[in-house]
Symmetry: C2
Subunit: 371 residues, 2 copies
């Protein structure tokens, strides 16, 4: 029984107990793939394994890292923790990390350069084997300075022209939204983008504007925003106050789109009759609010970002990847769809435009009388 209460058992303890050297213990506890398995006699192996189990031995990750100068750890820099987008990306990263017996250390940077540098260095202090940046700024040169260090990295979600990244096909997404509005016969478009340093908003807005201009329609107005509920609402109020009132709004973030819907509703405007709205990320809120939204597999983007990084750590050549996007149509653009929408969010299919499925019947609910 592992009744030890204070000290983690060491290989030395095992060695002493079994009567062998620490080297042997180390070898047994780290079965080397290359050499079959004749590193020790069956008895020794058994004895060591039994002692290890009995003492509750666990590797000291720090000692191993120090010795091997490989920490089996990757750092992940997130702009914020706790929003649907970064959480989904992180989740994919974390899955891959676990599959490879690695640990993902996270840090949030709030998109503040000082904090970002501080946290990056902190990760490096912990000898991370690599870093994934989910908070790249288009205009920054910080990443170049990181490239100076011996630690490889990849970017995810937001791109930077000079580095390997895994992004959504943001330009295509913008075009997809534009085409949908055009198909619906809308003429006066607006797009709520994000800060200029985020490639996501910039690229989406670019694709949106391009497609509309190419269609011979008036160029849409682009609003910068902070990509949250409040700023989405603010942007909408600004639109309402302007002379150029739109009949279609594309918000590059569902949070902002919620702000849009909320303000429109309270101004007595009908969605989609007066204004059609498209959001981004197809969050659970999208389906609850029946919001047409663009879907991208964020989880998989995270996965790929780490997989690329690991490939890079194995000295493979790696290249940027662009992930496909789809449009899930709901009642915020197409009132002919059946109401509801509390079923599971539509799965992305092979086609780029799909209808939301008829909401699934509610599963039988376990009801409990009050105690």
């Amino acid at each position: 029984m592992p009744t030890r209460i204070n000290q983690r058992p060491t290989q030395r303890q095992i060695a002493a107990q079994v009567g062998v050297s620490v080297t042997t213990v180390s070898r047994i506890l780290n079965p080397d793939e290359s050499h079959p398995e004749r590193w020790a006699s069956p008895e020794t192996v058994a004895a060591i394994q039994q002692a290890a189990a009995q003492l509750g031995y666990r590797h000291n990750a720090l000692a191993v890292s120090l010795r091997t100068s490989r920490s089996q750890t990757v750092g992940v820099l997130l702009p914020v923790v706790g929003d649907f987008v970064t959480a989904s990306i992180y989740s994919g990263i974390d899955d891959v990390a676990r599959e490879h017996g690695m640990t993902a250390l996270t840090a949030s940077t709030l998109d503040e350069p000082v904090l970002r540098a501080e946290r990056t260095f902190s990760l490096l202090d912990h000898l991370v084997d690599g870093i994934i940046f989910a908070d790249a700024h288009l205009d920054e040169d910080f990443l170049d300075s990181v490239a100076t260090q011996a630690v490889p990295f990849t970017l995810v979600h937001r791109r930077h022209p000079d580095h390997v990244c895994v992004t959504a096909d943001d330009v295509a997404a913008g075009r997809l939204a534009a085409q949908h509005f055009i198909d619906l016969g809308r003429r006066r478009m607006a797009v709520i983008s994000g800060p200029r340093f985020m490639s996501t908003g910039v690229d989406r807005a670019q694709g949106f504007v391009d497609a509309i201009v190419e269609a011979g329609l008036p160029a849409p107005t682009v609003f910068d925003s902070a990509l949250n509920v409040k700023s989405g609402g603010d942007a909408t109020r600004a639109m309402l106050a302007s002379s150029h009132f739109p009949d279609a709004i594309f918000a590059v973030h569902d949070g902002a789109a919620l702000g849009v819907l909320s303000v429109l509703r309270h101004e007595g405007l009908s969605v989609p009759d007066d204004v059609a709205v498209i959001g981004f990320y197809d969050t659970p809120m999208s389906s609850a609010m029946e919001l047409t939204s663009i879907n991208v597999d964020l989880n998989n983007m995270g996965r790929r970002a780490l997989e690329l990084l690991l490939a890079r750590l194995s000295d493979q050549q790696i290249e940027s990847e662009v992930c496909p996007v789809t449009l899930t149509v709901r009642r915020s653009t197409d009132p002919s769809l059946p109401p509801g929408g509390h079923g599971p969010t539509a799965e992305p299919l092979t086609s780029t435009v799909q209808r939301a499925p008829h909401p699934a019947e509610s599963s039988p609910q376990h009801v409990n009388p009050a105690p």
Copy 2:
């Protein structure tokens, strides 16, 4: 200029460059609080500091930890990463960690016992100085087994009877919701709680039921749910299908409340005329949806959880803490309030019940014509 491209500089390099021993370098780079500053001659100090700066020296956190058996690191176990609640708690923890020059390592457990154990051990392998569990289960004994290790821990958000924790005043919150409904003249109440192993839902439902029964009203029905949009909607449909249709629903999570609102709306029911709704956590969505919600300072809960843990690490005696809750009233219970609600979420005041402020005028919006 730090043009090194491959190796982190070590104290040995500095020592060699300056012409002193590593011991001296170490002393200078770790100014000891107790001894004023006469550890080295001013020249040596200057030379070392200059060399360190020039080489871009940084501590090797692993080596330091291994030597001192103090990692300046705490582990945080979250049920999920990426939801508003855990993110807010984590944010408070992270702030305190930074203030103390520590690093917070996170891991998500999805409330799965196997994953939780695995991740906890992984944290211990990294020699964390302490752990904060945000994912306690009421019925588990896993924490007891962790207590066997030499690593101290605290709980946050969810409580466990046997361990120190920082929680919201969940029972009071339930009573607050009940009293508000009672004041509004509602009679047929329901509460959407969470899984039975979460103290949060259990305690809130308990307070809610108690207050209602004490008021001489019929005991509310308690629905278990997964505390997300879909399950909130499912529970609502179950209510609609039952004979006991409520005129007031308390959901112990805003996500579930969104599902409630969504289903009610599509069933053609008016909120709050037909059904009043109260949510929990006062998320940004609350104000966008004009949802009356209970507010608790999650960020501060996180702060306190780590502050208590640090106190514990300094051998101080620590005790559980309960954080106050407030009710922010919006139109989902009180239609007399002005419409809107896109302003900032109401700040909790000293009183326990407050009205949402009149929505702030939208700040001037920076509008950019399309490029």
